[in-house]
Every structure is written in structure tokens, then in C-alpha cells.
């Protein structure tokens, strides 16, 4: 295993984050704070609590997930798209590295970034609302699994995209709506029965539900279902990445 290479790619990506610190860390923190002000304070004055949890606290896991999903996807997609765009990818392709090592470097860095970001958001949230974490280990497990899975998805998008619009398309048109409709700001049982059923087809519901359970011990769907869903999604992404490298899709002519 070429650990030097994994480390080199990982550090390169982390250095990129350091260079764009403002964009990488500050802007998601500001937008999360805005969500708190708008949803937490304004709506929170109407909906006082859900399942025994104050509304402000209730939305924390969903908001964190929302940021985690979008940031994982955009970090990882940009990380691999940019060398393709600038054509510096030639060096990665000509280096004695396996595909697994390449993914480990890029996806590892993207996931690390979004986990750091998730923790910063949680810390920011704790300034607004009292935060309690019922299952800290499970909280970290969900955080890690989600960051890795969606960074893999981002990596796939970064390989698939052949222009900057496509790069933005999936996070903007798919991830954000799914997260909004996935119970970030409400409990699924607040919806009419028909929409409750529709919601169950949204994979993000399971992520948010599981993550919220690790905080407050309340869930829309069972924790087992949440874990199973994210594992299935992780498996799908891994299979797709495997296929990409096996065929050289959009990487090698």
C-alpha cells in the first residue's frame, strides 16, 4: 500500500480547505446560525415542542445533517473535479497508486472536512439552544457514516460532471430538497398520512431520524432501519466507485 501517496493527497486536499477557510467553514456556520434565527426563533415561538423536545433543539440534528450532506457532496465533488478540469489528474493516473488509495485520499479528506464542520455547527448550535446527546457514540457513528457515504457520492459526481453546472446540479436540485423534505425542521408524523408514506421513500429521512435519535432518543423510523439504509447507500456508492475505476469512466480513454 502506497501510504505516502494517500497521505500526500489527503494533505493536499486539507491544505486546500485551509486556503479557503472562509468559504469552507465560516459560510456554513453563518447560514446555520441564520436557520436558527429564522426557524428556531420565529417558528419556535409557534411550535413550542415536538416529542418533548423544544423546537429549537429539535431542529439541531436535522440542520447538522443538512450541512453535512451538502458539504460532503460539494467538497468531494470539487476535490476530484478540479484536477480533471485543470488536467493535473495526469499525475494521479500515472502514479503508482491503486484506485482504493486515490479514493481514500480524496474521500477521506472530504469526509474529515465535513465532520469538522458538523462538530463546529453543533458547537454553534449549543450557543443558541441547550443541547443534550443521549447516545454520543451512535451520534459519532452516524456522523462518520453519513460523511463518508456522501463524500463518496460527491466523488462520483465529481467524476461524472463535465462542467461546473453539473457539479452544482446534484447538491442544489437533489440533496438540498431531499434534506428539507426529510424532516430537518419537522417530525414526519406532523404530515398528512399520504405524505408520510411518500416521505418514507426519501433516504435522507432515515439519516436525519437516526441522527436525531442519537440526541433525543426520539425517531421517526426505527434506528435499525436508519442504519440499514445508510449501509445500503454506502454499499451502492462503493460499488459505483469500483465500477468507475474498473472501467476508467471519464478518467481514462
Amino acid at each position: 500500500m502506497n501510504l505516502h501517496a494517500v497521505q500526500a493527497i489527503y494533505r493536499f486536499e486539507m491544505a486546500r480547505m485551509a486556503r479557503t477557510l472562509l468559504q469552507s467553514i465560516v459560510s456554513p456556520v453563518i447560514s446555520t446560525s441564520l436557520y436558527f434565527v429564522v426557524f428556531g426563533a420565529a417558528i419556535g415561538s409557534r411550535i413550542t415542542e415536538i416529542g418533548g423536545v423544544s423546537y429549537g433543539a429539535f431542529i439541531v440534528p436535522g440542520l447538522t445533517m443538512l450541512m453535512l450532506l451538502t458539504q460532503s457532496v460539494s467538497n468531494a465533488s470539487f476535490g476530484i473535479y478540479f484536477p480533471r478540469f485543470s488536467r493535473t489528474i495526469y499525475e494521479i493516473l500515472s502514479a503508482p497508486v491503486s484506485y482504493f488509495e486515490v479514493v481514500l485520499g480524496y474521500v477521506g479528506a472530504a469526509a474529515t472536512k465535513s465532520i469538522i464542520l458538523g462538530l463546529i455547527i453543533l458547537a454553534t448550535a449549543s450557543l443558541f439552544v441547550p443541547l443534550e446527546i443521549a447516545h454520543p457514540v451512535w451520534m459519532l457513528v452516524f456522523l462518520l457514516l453519513t460523511a463518508v457515504t456522501f463524500s463518496l457520492l460527491g466523488f462520483i459526481i465529481g467524476i461524472w460532471a463535465d462542467n461546473f453546472e453539473k457539479l452544482q446540479l446534484v447538491p442544489l436540485l437533489i440533496i438540498t430538497p431531499l434534506a428539507f423534505l426529510g424532516g430537518s425542521f419537522y417530525s414526519v408524523d406532523m404530515l398528512p398520512p399520504f405524505w408520510q408514506t411518500v416521505t418514507l421513500f426519501n433516504p435522507v429521512v432515515y439519516l436525519i431520524s437516526g441522527f436525531r435519535w442519537s440526541f433525543y432518543d426520539i425517531a421517526d423510523v426505527s434506528v435499525g432501519a436508519s442504519l440499514a439504509m445508510i449501509t445500503v447507500f454506502l454499499g451502492l456508492c462503493l460499488a459505483l466507485v469500483g465500477w468507475i475505476f474498473k472501467t476508467g469512466y471519464r478518467l481514462k480513454a
Binding site: 497521505q7 488536467r87 493535473t88 503508482p96
Partner: protein, 338 residues
């Protein structure tokens, strides 16, 4: 067995082991450092980029792949370096198959691409150190320092790549390719779009690299570049390797020139007094064309001009023309197909 004979036996065994080791070393030294067999490549678009290429590059030589744009030069080296999937055939780099033993093969190879593809906001030092580690080598600041100094990049080590000139970026790409101490260096069109001074500098650099023991494969479509640099030359056209030859041989073949004399009055045929010279009539008898090899001692332009004068043939202008690369390729291709 007595003591004497057992000592003799041990000595014989040791000598045999040394001899085996020496012959092993010798066979490694003589083994081609790049060996391409029956390599073909068809792109998904259906474009047949390489057709059954067989090529061996010798250890320590400078090998120039010469050919017009689109001939397949870049495809060939991209396959060897792992950037393009090989079609049919096999490629060995220092005895390692580039597909099944890609790690060992790629470890031996450094590649300088044709385009100036660099990151923008990295510093020279960081990007070269990154390459070394990407190729699996432990960080070695001393070696990176040496490479940067050799390439006159040392005072730019903390500069961001975006601030460098084209010539410097090219040198950074060379530094990146050399950062992991490769045995084989591929230079894809190292002097395309480079000014004369920089081109000479590049040539010097390549020679210095060869002197340090690195095998060099470069692609070019400039004949003078092949002439200046290479030990051997391969000519590639439309995906076919037309010939591989010693430079001296090839230069002899490619070195033909034409002297074109514009006549004052048209000639119907070449006077017999001029039969000793290789002359042709062109432009409806208004031009007399003399084809010659400037390196051939038998070439005697003074004699030709004297004979013309004696025969009463007057001309108003003259020009010489070196066969263009395009023409040479066409004629080479025609010759090999014959």
C-alpha cells in the same frame, strides 16, 4: 573430503555465484528499458490511434519519437505512463508489465506532459514535494532542493505556480517528474511553443539528465530537435511506427535539399551537357530543380552553376528548399509500404 579440497570447492562456489551475479547485472543492463509489443489502440470514437507498435528503448539512451501532429505520439507515451488504457498488446517498463505490475512499472517512470497543467495556488516547493510522495517515496528535502537548484527554480521555491512564466512552469513539471528519482523520463513535446533560448536550455538539461543515467524518451515534430538530441529516432505516422533508426542514418535520409533555379527563358528539356547532375524541370520548363544531399561529398553546386553557364542557361533567381517534415513522412510512408 580433505580440508584443501573443501576450501577449493567453497572458492569455486563463490566464484560461480559472483559470475552469476555479474551476468545477471549484465543482462539487466542490456535488457531494453521499455519494451512495447504488438500494441494497438482504438479510442471509443473508433479512431485507430496506434496500429501494432513494436518498439524497444535502450537503457541510458535519448530516444526521440518523431511525427506530425495527431500521429499517435502522445497516445503511445500516455499508454506507457498509465494515462490511457492500452488496447491490445503488452508494454514492459524495466521488465514490469504496465498493467499487472503497474506499481513497479510506474515507479520507474517520470512524465512531463505536453500541456502546462499545474495547480495555481500551490507553491513550487509544495507541488514538487507532493509528486515525490505521490510516487511512494519518503519525503527528502535535500533531494528536492537539488532538483530545484538543477532546474534554476530554487529562488522560486516559495512562489505560487500561477505567478510563474510558461518556461518556468515547464521546468516545474520537469522537477515534478524527477522528484521520485525515476529511471525513465518521458518528455512530451518539451519545446513546443518555447522560444529559442529556452529550447537550447532544455536541450542542455536533457543531456545532463542522460549523463546522470536517466533514459529519456521525447516526442517532437521538429526535425532539428531530434537531430540535436537523440541517439535513436522512431518515426510515427498515422498510428504506425514507420521506422526506428540511428539518428545519423536517419539524418542522412532526411537531409535532402532542393535548389530551385528560376530560368530567364523556358526549357523544353534538360540539355545533355547537364546529364551528370540530378536535374528536373518544373513549372512548365520555367524552373530547374536540383536535388542534392548537402552532407554528400559528391554534391558540387559550383560545378553545376559552371555547367549551366557553359550551356548558356541563364536564371533570374534561385532558392533552396529543405524537404518539409510532411513531405518526408509521406515519402517514408510510401517507401515502407512499397
Amino acid at each position: 573430503m580433505n580440508r584443501k579440497s573443501s576450501v577449493a570447492l567453497r572458492r569455486a562456489e563463490r566464484d560461480l555465484a559472483h559470475a552469476q551475479e555479474a551476468s545477471l547485472l549484465e543482462s539487466v543492463r542490456l535488457r531494453p528499458v521499455i519494451s512495447v509489443s504488438n500494441l494497438s489502440k482504438t479510442y471509443a470514437s473508433g479512431f485507430h490511434a496506434l496500429k501494432n507498435i513494436n518498439l524497444e528503448v535502450r537503457r541510458g539512451e535519448i530516444f526521440a519519437l518523431l511525427g506530425p501532429n495527431g500521429a499517435g505520439k502522445t497516445t503511445l507515451i500516455s499508454i506507457i505512463c498509465g494515462i490511457v488504457n492500452p488496447g491490445e498488446g503488452t508494454v514492459l517498463a524495466d521488465g514490469h508489465d504496465i498493467v499487472t505490475e503497474y506499481r513497479a512499472a510506474r515507479f520507474k517512470i517520470g512524465l512531463v506532459p505536453q500541456e502546462l497543467t499545474t495547480d495555481a495556488f500551490e507553491t513550487v516547493w509544495d507541488t514538487v514535494s507532493f509528486s515525490r510522495r505521490l510516487f511512494g517515496r519518503r519525503a527528502n528535502p535535500g533531494y528536492i532542493e537539488k532538483v530545484l537548484k538543477d532546474l534554476s527554480l530554487w529562488d522560486k521555491k516559495d512562489s505560487k505556480l500561477i505567478t510563474l512564466s510558461g518556461g518556468m512552469k515547464r521546468r516545474v513539471l520537469i522537477a515534478k517528474a524527477l522528484s521520485h528519482e525515476p529511471e525513465i523520463l518521458f518528455l512530451d513535446e518539451p519545446t513546443a511553443g518555447v522560444d529559442v533560448d529556452l529550447r537550447r536550455e532544455m536541450w542542455q538539461l536533457v543531456r545532463a539528465l542522460r549523463a546522470s543515467g536517466v533514459t529519456i524518451v521525447l516526442t517532437t515534430h521538429y526535425i532539428e530537435e531530434a537531430e540535436e538530441m537523440a541517439d535513436r529516432v522512431g518515426v510515427i505516422s498515422e498510428g504506425e511506427l514507420i521506422l526506428v533508426e540511428d539518428k545519423a542514418e536517419l539524418m542522412h535520409k532526411l537531409g535532402r535539399k532542393r535548389l530551385i533555379l528560376q530560368l530567364k527563358g523556358p526549357l523544353e528539356r534538360i540539355p545533355s551537357a547537364l546529364a551528370a547532375h540530378t536535374l528536373e524541370l518544373a513549372a512548365d520548363g520555367h524552373e530547374l530543380v536540383y536535388t542534392y544531399d548537402p552532407q554528400d561529398e559528391r554534391t558540387d553546386i559550383t560545378a553545376l552553376l559552371g555547367d549551366l553557364n557553359e550551356a548558356g542557361i541563364r536564371f533570374k533567381d534561385l532558392r533552396t528548399k529543405q524537404s518539409s517534415l510532411e513531405e518526408i513522412f509521406v515519402s517514408l510512408l510510401r517507401e515502407t509500404r512499397r
